[in-house]
Symmetry: C2
Subunit: 450 residues, 2 copies
Amino acid sequence: MRELGEHIVRPPRSLLETAKDWSAAPSSPPLAILEPRSSEEVSQVLAFCNRLQIPLAIQGGMTGLVGGANSMPGEAVLSLAKLNRIEHIDTTAGTALIQAGVTLEQLQNAAEEHDWFFPLDLGARGSCQLGGNAATNAGGNRVIRYGMMRNAILGLEVILADGTRLERLDTVIKNNAGFDLKQLFIGSEGQLGVITQLVIQLQPRPTARCTALCALDGLTKSTQLLKLLKGVLPELSAFEVMWSDYVHESARLQGLALPFQAQYPIYVLIETLGHDLSLSVSAVENALQQALLDEVILDAVLAQSEQQAQKLWSYREGVSELLTALKPCAAFDVSVSLPKMQALVLDLQEELTNRFKEQHHLFFGHLGDGNLHLISGPYPDPEDLHALEELTYQRIAAYGGSISAEHGIGVVKREFLHHSKSKEEIDLMAQLKKLLDPKSILNPQRVIPS
Amino acid sequence: MRELGEHIVRPPRSLLETAKDWSAAPSSPPLAILEPRSSEEVSQVLAFCNRLQIPLAIQGGMTGLVGGANSMPGEAVLSLAKLNRIEHIDTTAGTALIQAGVTLEQLQNAAEEHDWFFPLDLGARGSCQLGGNAATNAGGNRVIRYGMMRNAILGLEVILADGTRLERLDTVIKNNAGFDLKQLFIGSEGQLGVITQLVIQLQPRPTARCTALCALDGLTKSTQLLKLLKGVLPELSAFEVMWSDYVHESARLQGLALPFQAQYPIYVLIETLGHDLSLSVSAVENALQQALLDEVILDAVLAQSEQQAQKLWSYREGVSELLTALKPCAAFDVSVSLPKMQALVLDLQEELTNRFKEQHHLFFGHLGDGNLHLISGPYPDPEDLHALEELTYQRIAAYGGSISAEHGIGVVKREFLHHSKSKEEIDLMAQLKKLLDPKSILNPQRVIPS
């Protein structure tokens, strides 16, 4: 294992990059494609479209997984692609002022050039845009340490449906002068306004990555492991849980062997990001030795090189191979409280195996965030796929979980939103929509059920 | 629910001692004091008051510093004091479900009993309530590591002005199913709804505290020190900057000597919270040695005992002594981007010293958050005090800063809000208020300028 230097911002691909066949709604040819080059132009476009009641599909990098950015009949497209300037990186404070169309990868690279680090990371990093990441409150593998996109946003400029410009490009964490209006727009999937500029908090650049794979005899042990590691590893940046089926199917499809002699019910991939490799390795070793002593884990392997680290990640990152192999399939992105996760998974495993005997049902997730993923397939019959979705979301709702942890609602989960939001909440969402976009020109027929 | 009359049980508590003369608006005897004992009762009270258009002052622990909770003529008081149950602490996931009237200290203690930790901390911990901490998005000394109150909130139950109950008691970080409505209420100072229950994210309980005081030759060096320490000390939980005058006046009033031979322009108090004292000490020692080598700091002293740590903190915590000694005085709580802070302080120092020659102007702050505090006094003439406020806020605005980093707007900063929010933002705040509280019964005449 060596110092990773520049490579540290290139961990493996993330989730569901290729799940578009499942998740994306059909797209219609747009009336027009509008590509403003400045916030002023966005304001002019919106004022114009609002006056004429021209509905718009707001498009960032088009990498969303719920079809929200696809244009529908009668819509024009408002693309943020030309707003692609990194305006300023403040090397003292570690903040970046950028336009909304800057890609995640552009910012990651620019931060690195200035000896800073932008920790948010997704498989779609090369195409997804930060305005879209903000509008959908993107997550990823490092939420356990650095939080969601919401936590990285210090300031926003937003253009409202009527062209009104709200500019609050704060560069500090603390600002309690009046309502924190930016919170309204983050994660609202473009329903309430168009994000045009952002101020992003960067983080100190880590130079040492330490990766390990642990074998456990059950999910309960993984929550114990999580608590143990959070207490002693402040550098812990990933905690990825994989059920046995998932790991073995992923390994098989990629032609990989597992680094353990035996099979185990649960595997947990952990990673720390720090500044001193020997300190990090010794901290991880000590923590895992403690976990072995306490019988929280049964075995563990620590990557001794960057190659080995990548190999450990590849079990987790076999998602695209699995999605291809199980086509047509469904990929769920849900969350549920840790104490209920065990029961939910057992319940789903039983119910799905009974109902859909021919299919694989593979579980994995970011356990530290309560985020569970499930890939289930193949389903040659679309009606089965719909029945699977209805059944799964009902179960999630019964356990008080969320039908969308990271990916949002868009078009494809709109009819299921009632499983995760009450009538009162959906009413308030609709009222906010009406207040801020009374003519419903911003991403209509998405997110909020009709 | 009983008749409203039965809830008139006690006179309103007096205002907080510290900074009362400066920050608190006058309080009038309320029409009635309502002390509901459940979320249902809060809902009934609000529905009733909304129907009859009875304006309410929403009261938590009455420890705010901007007079927002004081009742005005014609108002009844809605107190959350009887909603003081810790409903559940989940020891697996480290989450707490609590009612809004639970005090900060109650939760801190309960977390500790369950081997968890609630990092938010304020001087008013014994009286301030978590509903109030949420409604005002409280900060404190540990924001650099753990974030503001907003970051600790996983779920909220809110009652709207008409009695509608919005219950979303999530226990996980990740929920992108529809708008994250709780964000609307956090930091809105009770303008949009009444918080009745919260789910709080706890943290692993630290068992080792390492405290040091550093001496620097200027503010620029302190931003370098901050970057250096953030890079190598993931456990860094406090970074408190104090200008020379502040430290020496604070020490003098408390009869304390400083641990250095010479006087320095800037002092920085740092602290880490970890799990292994020898590891923490060695990490802090290494970091400070590096800082000395790089001439980022000129001297440093590391506490060798809990007693010494408390002594180092006492320079920083001489605030109440200073507020008493400089009475009547003004205490400012503002924020500005790091690169502009040096110029802002120099500018203010010069202008204030010229204009108010007889007064002390003492600067300190949570530099890691861009949060600057200033105590200035004594001002026997109230007109001078008002002139000072106007002058200071104008300067803050000129540097693009916020007139309230932590304390909110309430009554006393309402007329100054235009320095930190544009007309468009204030308009949107008013529209949101009108949407959610059309009869303006929740904390009227506060926060939003008329």
